[in-house]
Symmetry: C2
Subunit: 194 residues, 2 copies
DNA sequence: GCATGTGAAGGAATTCACAGCA
DNA sequence: TGCTGTGAATTCCTTCACATGC
């Protein structure tokens, strides 16, 4: 579903008011019936013969994905990757905002990156009070688990994990992991005989 | 399979020589039977009663994933994210190396980031000659498709795409896409009523 | 006894075809 | 006619149980 929302965002500039599953499918690289099937799980979306109203569809998917309210995230670890994330422009079209950046390195604390002041990791207890319920882990993998424990203790309800470690976490907290190196390492498999 | 290899890398420091599917499963967060099933598709790996020889298993998986030879990648787009990728330490444990960095911004060309000199995007034609067969796209999404076209024309056989756009590419070229913002945007769905 | 490898059951996701509505 | 929504068929993946081998 998030892919559909992203596709609509990238297309909504057009003057069109509605879009067919076929056109959307071509744009995002999937099949028309896949889209219709996915939508059907959440009820009726479009009108036969005409297609889907773009604005309505966006609003609908945002509601389903719980993106109709702004969500705040805290980044832990302002290294190279963390800095890139802080400056990343793509979050706000999904209604997400990085509201805090934490690090343990005294040399970084107090400085500003991407318009956000880097705080001491000890501030992590304040996340709940500040309505931050997403944690982003961009620390070295050796300290990823303890960082995750801290985030959970501070009331975060989901985590985006950029470390190469699996996180052992109470299952009420949702974790999504992205290991950039591992994704790259998957490619050679598809390039036989080289 | 890449996850198993990653898990073994992170565990291989231990003095153990062999490992059971149960232990490995706990470490990487899956089940023992899943591991055994996955391995079984590629033939016999371990010895009953004893487990899997760590070194042998690593070598075996590397061969399957085509990671037994070093692969070279070219990064296109040295912005915030691109810079982070250049400095990323995790690639070499998978036998991957970023051998070139390209950008179109004259102010960046010639400078050095992460030990690699940034080249003019026009150099992209030299990739084949330099045995670079992986492209990494870290450019703004508006120019992602044309960048992909250039990479394909220059002989790249697989692409790691960090843009938010689906890439229309001949299907002999494998594409893996990572959209950081979208991954983050998936989390609120799992945090009901907030 | 301990841990692997695998057939079989079960469940989930894709794919198809088509009825029904604008 | 054009496009949606959905049952049915198919394929794929996950889960289990257990026979086999060290």
């Amino acid at each position: 579903m998030p892919i559909y929302l992203r596709g609509l965002q990238l297309l909504s500039l057009e003057d069109q008011q509605s879009i067919s599953s076929k056109i959307l499918a071509e744009f995002i690289g999937t099949n028309a019936w896949q889209i219709r099937k996915d939508f059907s799980y959440f009820g009726d979306f479009g009108t036969p013969g005409r297609g889907y109203d773009i604005k309505k569809l966006q609003k609908r998917i945002r509601k389903i994905l719980n993106l109709d309210k702004t969500h705040k995230a805290a980044l832990v670890g302002v290294g190279n990757l963390g800095s890139a994330i802080l400056s990343y422009p793509g979050f706000k079209i999904f209604g997400c905002e990085i509201a805090a950046a934490l690090d343990s390195n005294p040399k970084k604390i107090g400085k500003t990156k991407g318009g956000i002041k880097i705080e001491n990791i000890n501030n992590i207890n304040s996340l709940k009070r500040r309505n931050i319920d997403i944690g982003i882990i961009a620390v070295p993998s050796e300290v990823a688990q303890q960082t995750a424990d801290l985030l959970v203790k501070s009331g975060v309800r989901s985590i985006l994990n950029f470390s190469s470690r699996h996180l052992d976490i109470p299952k009420k907290v949702k974790v999504i992991s992205i290991d950039i190196a591992m994704e790259l390492a998957r490619l050679p498999y598809y390039m036989p005989s080289s």
